[in-house]
């Protein structure tokens, strides 16, 4: 029996033979995610396993650690930075077998769940208790809770509830790279008694261990929600209006600012359904989607105050309700019409790609101008343009800059990488970061880690990684340089 066969047999004895495969037919399904790569690139793992229990994962990881085999946790496979692809082969752990909700605590407003459950399925279960987890990425039908933590990705409702997992994550169970199962944190809404190590795994991109369970803060479903779209002639005025809303003491759930292209993209159905095209005003540069929720009187009162602020700030409230509703539907936030998933249609010729930057609020107009210049320099069309969630309570701009790339042309893919690299470098120059919600993974921006972070900081990160993962088996080649 050769080494590979022996390992395979061991894995089968841990998770059951039906939950292990090294057949190429199965491995292809795990060879790509949604990240920027040319059409023919694949990263084949050697083996895929689908455990159902934390204990099984611990055994798999112990075996991998002993044999020095890379281990890559895989959630929904919708990542935009290549965080879950096996660039060095090894074992992919498909986490979706761990999809049980352990406890919904209505009184204390928490949910404890295994992390392979999708964001959508978790929210469906919470809804039965009149609760919800406001983290709401567009990928929610496929992406998992574990991946949300590992990438610290963004959702729509960050303005009120917090868009970072730091705002939700109270406790966590992790299988460390050496196979120990460790729990961090608790249900306590706040604690300073130890180091907040549960937060260490937020944005860790599978490099520090396998996140198997999480206790999350959840909220009661609002009784009423009102949504509006406001058109602005510049990003600057949209941002300024958003800040005024916050400063006025209003409490919006979501402030989502997008470029004209994005708004047009998300409202294509308006044309299909009502045979009416949205005619953007000549001077339109940005649109803001805003929502208020709570008791009807409270939400509507806030909306009416906000409308006045928008008018004063030069905004124009979109009166066509069908158009507004379609935006929210198409954005997959409030509802979802089966069969209307627009993503594949938008990518019949070009691959959607982009970069998730975060700069200090005042620098957003500056980097938006840079984006427009770089589109011309590198000859790209904006996909959904630029859009911005306010992440981390109130107003922390999580800015996504998007382009369409012909991924069947390797030269164009390389050009796209240069575009991304340059705008990310500019973000650092503005005092910002190279990633605010999608992770670094194997993205071209990884080479900018030493630019964004000090040498000492990076060395400390590496030491931490080495301490937890002495044999570098957890998702090697990602995030930090080897």
């Amino acid at each position: 029996m050769n080494e590979h066969t022996k390992i395979l047999e061991n894995l089968k004895s841990i998770v059951g033979s039906e939950n292990v495969s090294c057949d190429k037919v199965d491995l292809f399904a795990y060879s790509r995610d949604w990240s920027l790569m040319d059409a023919s690139t694949i990263y084949m793992p050697d083996i895929v396993v689908r455990p159902k229990k934390t204990a099984e994962i611990a055994e798999v990881v112990r075996l991998a650690n002993k044999e020095r085999i890379p281990v890559i946790p895989w959630g929904g496979g919708t990542g935009l930075s290549g965080g879950a692809v096996a660039i060095k082969g090894g074992i992919i752990i498909d986490m979706k077998g761990l999809n049980e909700i352990i406890e919904i605590d209505e009184e204390n407003l928490t949910v404890t769940t295994q992390t392979g459950i999708t964001v959508q399925k978790l929210n469906e279960a919470l809804k039965n208790h009149q609760l919800w987890w406001p983290h709401d990425p567009e990928s929610k039908f496929a992406s998992t809770v574990g991946a949300a933590i590992a990438c610290d990705n963004a959702g729509t409702f960050g303005t009120k509830y917090g868009g970072s997992l730091v705002d939700y994550l109270l406790g966590i169970e992790v299988v460390l790279p050496t196979g120990e199962i460790v729990k961090f944190g608790s249900k306590a809404p706040h604690s300073v008694s130890g180091y907040p190590l549960h937060w260490l795994f937020i944005g860790s991109e599978g490099t520090l261990g396998v996140i198997t369970e999480a206790t999350l803060r959840v909220y009661r479903l609002p009784q009423h929600r009102c949504v509006d779209i406001i058109i602005f002639d510049s990003f600057k005025s949209a941002i300024s209006a958003g800040l005024k809303i916050i400063e006025a003491g209003l409490d919006p759930e979501s402030i989502h600012i997008m470029a004209k292209e994005g708004f047009i993209y998300y409202t294509k159905l308006y044309e299909v359904k009502f045979n009416k095209a949205f005619k953007p005003p000549e001077k339109m540069e940005a649109a803001m989607a805003i929502s208020f929720a709570g008791l009807k009187d409270v939400a509507e009162f806030q909306r009416s105050v906000a409308s006045k602020i928008f008018l004063e700030a030069g905004g124009m409230v979109v009166e066509e309700r069908e158009l507004v509703d379609i935006f929210w539907t198409e954005k997959h936030t409030l509802s979802y019409d089966a069969g209307r998933n627009p993503w594949p249609l938008s990518q019949t010729k070009y691959k959607y790609t982009g970069i998730d930057l975060c700069v200090p609020t005042g620098k957003v107009p500056l980097i938006y101008e840079k984006y427009k210049r770089l589109l011309k320099k590198y000859n790209f069309k904006p996909a959904t343009g630029c859009f911005m969630y306010s992440k981390r309570l109130k107003f922390a701009p999580n800015c996504i800059f998007t382009i369409n790339v012909n991924d069947e042309d390797p030269e164009e893919v390389e050009r796209a990488k240069k575009f991304i690299h340059e705008i990310a470098k500019h973000s650092i120059k503005c005092g910002g970061t190279i990633s605010s919600s999608r992770g670094v993974g194997i993205a071209v921006t990884r080479s900018l880690m030493p630019v964004e972070h000090t040498h000492e900081a990076l060395e400390l990160m590496k030491k931490l990684k080495q301490m937890l993962d002495p044999n570098n088996i957890m998702n090697p080649g990602k995030k930090l340089a080897d």
């Binding site: 037919v25 790509r32 069969g339």
Partner: protein, 383 residues
């Protein structure tokens, strides 16, 4: 069409990777690995087109372990199910179908049914009833299909529908031993040559008999005859029985006033719902029966979860009967509604779900009944 004909869609999926088709896929639910989902199968198709993967029997298992329920297609702007069907056609051409599928196709070719049952026994279920052979001048041909004709539980459903149609005074007849397989599953399994043969033979028979209108017991036959047969040179009025029964009940030709006191959940068959967008007729029938409280399962209408019997799996049983098999998942979902009756409008769903109720040990709590049986019991004043 070969999968190359879908190259743009396959490459789009490979580029997009949204995975929205995955979570509600019965095959993925059963087998767990992504290669058993719509997106996974598109990865396999992409690898084949790129010359990175050969057509093998292992590959065929992934492509055939699909109920063709169209849930993935309903979630996507592309028709993934059509691509899987094209994939199957290629596997049939390459002689790579799983043995269970091969047996199904051979038996259907030789015997006109997948169980090697004698053709002359096809009409035996009518014995002891007044249901007669179709005669020239009858308004409707009642097409029963293989499950209604040969399966014991299916026989009861076929009989219930026949008897209520008689009660309504409808002019109709059956083909009995002259009936042949409608070919819907043959088509779904990718044997288009055999499907063409079956369709043409059936069409020839219908034309010879002067059939103008067909009412089918099974949504599978309904789908084939309504959507595929016209391409083979016939233009019949085909309806699933729920639509006809709704009209009959609305016209007052059946006395359902005795009612039925029960909490009922209705399961949408894929070939009636997602394939043909008929969601309301069965519900209206149930709502019209006094005493019935119609409840919805969590997944219903366009989002309904397949019983696991579609795409030939009723016969080939490639899914097995494990804890996560679609039929068992579905009856647990029905049980969660506190319904006493799980109503179906398809003999395949009936058999799949009826078996699953037994395996789940729910016989005392949940009964699977076809809408025709429910209507019959109502007319007769039985519970």
């Amino acid at each position: 069409m070969l999968i190359r004909g879908f190259k743009q869609d396959i490459y789009t999926c490979n580029r997009c990777r949204c995975g929205f088709c995955r979570e509600e896929c019965p095959s993925y639910k059963t087998f767990g690995l992504e290669s058993y989902s719509g997106r996974g199968r598109m990865s396999i198709a992409w690898a084949v087109l790129e010359g990175k993967l050969d057509l093998t029997s292992e590959l065929a298992k992934r492509i055939y372990a699909c109920t063709m329920c169209r849930h993935c297609s309903a979630r996507c702007s592309m028709d993934i199910t059509a691509i899987i069907k094209a994939f199957r056609e290629e596997l049939v051409e390459g002689g790579l179908v799983p043995p269970e599928v091969k047996d199904f196709l051979e038996n259907t070719y030789k015997y006109g049914n997948p169980w090697k049952k004698p053709r002359e026994k096809r009409g035996e279920w009518t014995e002891g009833t007044e249901i007669r052979r179709y005669e020239s001048g009858d308004e409707f041909l009642y097409y029963v299909g293989c499950v209604g004709s040969y399966d014991t539980r299916g026989n009861r459903v076929a009989k219930a529908l026949g008897e209520i149609l008689l009660e309504s005074g409808l002019s109709f007849g059956v083909l009995g031993s002259d009936e042949n397989c409608d070919g819907n599953e043959v088509n779904m399994l990718g044997e288009k040559g055999l499907f063409q043969l079956l369709a043409e033979k059936n069409i020839q028979k219908f034309k010879k008999l002067g059939v103008k209108k067909i009412v089918t017991l099974s949504p599978h036959a309904y789908n084939a005859m309504k959507n595929e047969y016209p391409q083979h040179g016939v233009n019949l009025e085909v309806m699933h029985y729920t639509k006809l029964l709704r009209e009959i009940i609305k016209s007052g030709k059946l006395d359902i006033s005795k009612g039925l006191n029960a909490r009922v959940a209705y399961h949408d068959p894929c070939f009636l719902g997602r394939y043909n967008e008929e969601y309301e007729a069965p519900r209206e029938i149930l709502r019209d029966i006094p005493g019935i409280e119609l409840v919805e399962m969590e997944r219903n209408r366009e989002n309904s979860f397949c019983c696991g019997g579609g795409g030939g799996n009723f016969y080939t049983d490639l899914f097995g009967g494990g804890q996560d098999s679609p039929s068992r998942v579905r009856v647990r979902e029905a049980y969660d509604t506190d319904a006493e009756i799980l109503a179906v409008a398809c003999p395949t769903c009936m058999t799949m779900l009826d078996d699953a109720v037994k395996v789940e040990g729910l016989e005392e709590k949940l009964t699977v009944r076809d809408i025709s049986e429910i209507v019959k019991a109502t007319i007769e004043g039985r519970s």
